[in-house]
Symmetry: C2
Subunit: 412 residues, 2 copies
Amino acid sequence: MFGQNENEILPLATAVAGRDLDRDDLEEVFARAAWSGIAEPGDGTAGAVVARLGAATALRAVLGPWPVSEFSARLREAGADDVSDDQVHAALERWAPRAGAPDAVGALRQAARVGARLLLPTDALWPVGIDDLGSHAPLALWVRGTDDALIALPRAMALVGARAATGYGEHITMEASAGLVDRGYAIVSGAAYGIDGMAHRAALASNGHTVAFLAGGVDRFYPSGHDALLTRIAETGAVISELPCGQAPTKWRFLQRNRLIAAASIATVVLEAGWRSGSLNTAAHATTLGRPLGAVPGPVTSAASAGCHRLIRDYTAVCVTNPDEMAALAPLAPAPSALDRAESEDTGPDGRGAELTRLLDALSVRSPRVVSDVAARAGMSLAAVRALLGSLELDGAVAERERGWVKTPAGR
Amino acid sequence: MFGQNENEILPLATAVAGRDLDRDDLEEVFARAAWSGIAEPGDGTAGAVVARLGAATALRAVLGPWPVSEFSARLREAGADDVSDDQVHAALERWAPRAGAPDAVGALRQAARVGARLLLPTDALWPVGIDDLGSHAPLALWVRGTDDALIALPRAMALVGARAATGYGEHITMEASAGLVDRGYAIVSGAAYGIDGMAHRAALASNGHTVAFLAGGVDRFYPSGHDALLTRIAETGAVISELPCGQAPTKWRFLQRNRLIAAASIATVVLEAGWRSGSLNTAAHATTLGRPLGAVPGPVTSAASAGCHRLIRDYTAVCVTNPDEMAALAPLAPAPSALDRAESEDTGPDGRGAELTRLLDALSVRSPRVVSDVAARAGMSLAAVRALLGSLELDGAVAERERGWVKTPAGR
């Protein structure tokens, strides 16, 4: 499976996964990384095959390549009666040209170089909303950014709109983004010029969490004019793509990227959009996923608002005119305390409650401890420790000091 | 019933009714004229009492005054089990002070002086939509204007909005009114400053039919700054009130006037309205009556559009951005030919079909005849002849020449 680069792969995969990997983990990480470059975003056959056979076995099948008949037989054995022989045949033909191990190794090398990491659906930080995409969900996500931003995604509102924004559109986007951050929301968008860029900028200016989903690899920011903005987002928020490093954005990938924006957020608001704006595609994804959809009206004399009016008139978007009305689309429950959650959740040895207990056991009230020390004491991955520390910090149960983390009296 | 002015009343009533009156007609016209000054607009008890006893008997009861017990007994006899003794008692107390004959005579005198006429619910030109108000319908309507405008009411769209309109609001109102006239609609509004005034002006400029409903008598136009505008509307369109001449507009009467705007139109569109604009009251009446309601969005930064957004967001108003979308609220059927209607309607001696036949019999293809001549030949009222001629002219069945009306080959 690993080709000629086997020795290089373990350290690379460990780096991008952010945790120690046993042989199975390594195969899973490598296979998911490879699949993210083999299947185009939204390839439902890839989603079904990987779900049935596992990423590693499915990759071996493509690399083999297994004969169609054997592939189909194995799929049926695994209970996949929704994938026909014809689909397998067609899929193998489109996957084969991209299935060489070198591509995956190159993507891992580049990811390690730019500090990107690979999230798998089993990771604690995997955005839960994404799973609503079913077999069209990405097989992995490449991320440059902070754990805090990923943890904030279940409280994220997508603010999207046209690249050709007017002064009016930029103004209301700034108000919306800052107002939603003030109300506890994170802001998701697509980092495009116009409305998207303003949504990210205003969130950053309000010290909010903001997450950009890209249509190409996270190693080369697109659009290039937003390189500085995306660098800032990666520092305090997160920049995410389902495509591996080195991949260029295409028309198809933009449309598929839009489904991630809609799925990762609890609601989508379109702030300004022409009659055929791409943001209407994001709106359609939100509606398909059953996510609340809002649109901001504007002057009927402005072509840049025609798409918003169309959404309100014909596609049941709610007319929203200020951050309060946007927040009402998907009200936030008072942030549940991580401690409360621990009590109400599985407290078995693998449950989140157990991890919380072990994490708090691993912390001291007096002696600050660095994350790697805490992870070793708790027997948990660095990523899981970081995620839970972020969550507990919001609850005031832990605090970060100059030389590491401590638990507060509330965390005892 | 007529008090000391009996001799003056017949010629006055004949003039405002626009037709010859026998004794019963005269009593009905006089009683309705009196009632329009006795009961405040929307007085449901007055509506119920007049519907049960007839306007003349009900007026005698008030003038009597009959004892409450007798009044109630007569109402029950007439099948009115929806009016309690308490309601009759309270109603007699509020009606009595206004029930003197001199008030009604004064209103008739003033109406005759300004050329206003009195429409009764039985008149051919009575706006049919008004009847949907049930017992809250006006008992009579005072009109200054043309038959054509009254005939056009079943094709009328109400365009309403704030007095404090912005340049944006006035612009979109002008486009809406002119665009709807181009599509065959008449325009109803309330003649107020701002949106209402612009709706009327643009309709006049497009040679459309426009009708203004006032909250006071049609003898003194309100607001006074719109005296010239209302004079123009009365010349080519119609100015209508349920209050007799001499009555001043009041807050209550404005609110009740709004129900007439909503009821007389096939749909209502709010073009610009603040959060508490009176036009939201018209919108509420439209919704209560089951009439389609539209609202035009605007910049969310404009307080003058906040009421429109509220209607779209909370009151199921349709978001409409141009005349096509407004027209879609209540599409016009292709104008039915009066001749087609005649064929499908009652052709007995009292039916509309019979009147059409008599009217066409009374016209010549070659010799133009004036309306009074046609009325005499057909044995019909002047008003009925005018109404039918207007309708037939739209169908191309009759035409007006310099010296009167002729029928065309289509009308033979």
